[in-house]
């Protein structure tokens, strides 16, 4: 029953909390970013097989639901998530890899499948006219931080990027 009470709490908190939301389109590509509070992140992964202790290293960072969509009519886009970065006070912070989080959380194989699939893919090719993904993205900065985030992709090797400034990571 304790777990039931916990889930009711997580459901209420998760549904009621939207801390930061932003969307930007550049060169036919749209990126959206919405903060998920730490409690809701924890709830999601506990329901997928993590313990609270296992997921805490991840949930206590700034976690967002993100989408990236290719609305170009002709161009195929390609990205590597490792090229995306956050910037705070002139210092660049990389987006952590899935392997980093696997090591940090010590997840069991079943929970790891869900974790990996719930993240924004580490590499993807989006065909034109609307391929897209939605996934979580962790910026490894303390709750309460404010930063810019830059998303990078290429079209036939030509560099493109989009920056959303002033993202708040609300506690």
């Amino acid at each position: 029953m304790n777990k039931t009470v916990l889930l009711i709490f997580f459901a209420i908190v998760g549904i009621s909390t939207v801390s930061f939301a932003e969307q930007k389109t550049k060169d036919g590509v749209t990126f959206t970013i919405n903060q998920i509070n730490a409690t809701a992140v924890g709830a999601f992964y506990i329901a997928r097989g993590f313990s609270l202790e296992e997921i805490e290293p991840y949930s206590e960072t700034c976690v967002y639901t993100t989408t990236l969509k290719n609305n170009n009519e002709i161009d195929t886009i390609h990205y590597l998530r490792k090229n995306w970065f956050a910037t705070k006070d002139g210092i660049s912070y990389p987006i952590r890899t899935n392997d980093y989080w696997l090591e940090a959380t010590k997840a069991n194989p079943s929970a790891w499948i869900a974790f990996r699939l719930a993240q924004m893919p580490e590499e993807q090719v989006y065909e034109p006219k609307g391929d897209w993904n939605q996934g979580m993205l962790s910026v490894d900065l303390p709750l309460g931080s404010s930063f810019d985030i830059t998303v990078v992709w290429d079209v036939k090797g030509k560099h493109h990027e989009l920056t959303i400034e002033g993202i708040n990571c609300v506690k």
Partner: protein
């Protein structure tokens, strides 16, 4: 009864965690042509009725393979349109294989009980995600359309409005 309440709470918690932001990108009304087409990888999985489904046995049908999970907002959002596509075309030779990735029976059956319209196509389990990897799918949802010969002719990354005319016309053209 308590079990159903518990399942509903889990779903609420998951959706709460994700803040249900699937609408932010919207469902796409387009399939990408795979040209040249390529032979579909093997797919042999157990479904919710504990039957083994083998795509090899479906030659002569148009097969839509959709990789999904219950916790994935765009997957949930597109399911209704996938069911409507299937309902309209199943008698003409369209088969849908909705391959759930990484979950066990409880959340899948609970979702199937709750979703509207109710799902009547095959839902299969890819618990270790190896079939998804074999098909080259990276994110969820991912969808592949396999023609009567067993070749992948269309693909889609991300949620789709499957009963949009543009997509329906492509599927219908494969039935000729």
């Amino acid at each position: 009864m308590l079990n159903n309440i518990y399942k509903s709470l889990i779903i609420l918690a998951l959706l709460g965690a994700l803040n249900l932001k699937a609408n932010q990108a919207g469902l796409t009304k387009h399939f990408t042509e795979v040209s040249p087409s390529k032979v579909a990888p093997s797919l042999k999985l157990e479904d919710t009725e504990e039957e083994i489904i083998n795509i090899e046995d479906l030659k002569g049908k148009v097969v839509i393979v959709n990789f999904w999970a219950t916790w994935c907002p765009p997957c949930r959002k597109e399911m209704g349109s996938l069911e409507r596509l299937y309902s309209g075309l199943k008698d003409k030779g369209v088969v849908v294989l909705a391959v759930n990735v990484g979950e066990d029976e409880d959340p899948v059956l609970s979702f199937m009980n709750d979703v509207e319209p109710p799902l009547t196509f095959n839902v299969l389990y890819d618990k270790d995600s190896k079939t998804m990897q074999k098909w080259g799918a990276i994110g969820l949802p991912s969808t592949f359309v396999v023609d009567k010969k067993g070749d992948i002719v269309y693909k889609a990354i991300g949620g789709r409005d499957f009963d949009d005319k543009n997509i329906l016309d492509k599927i219908i053209s494969l039935l000729k």
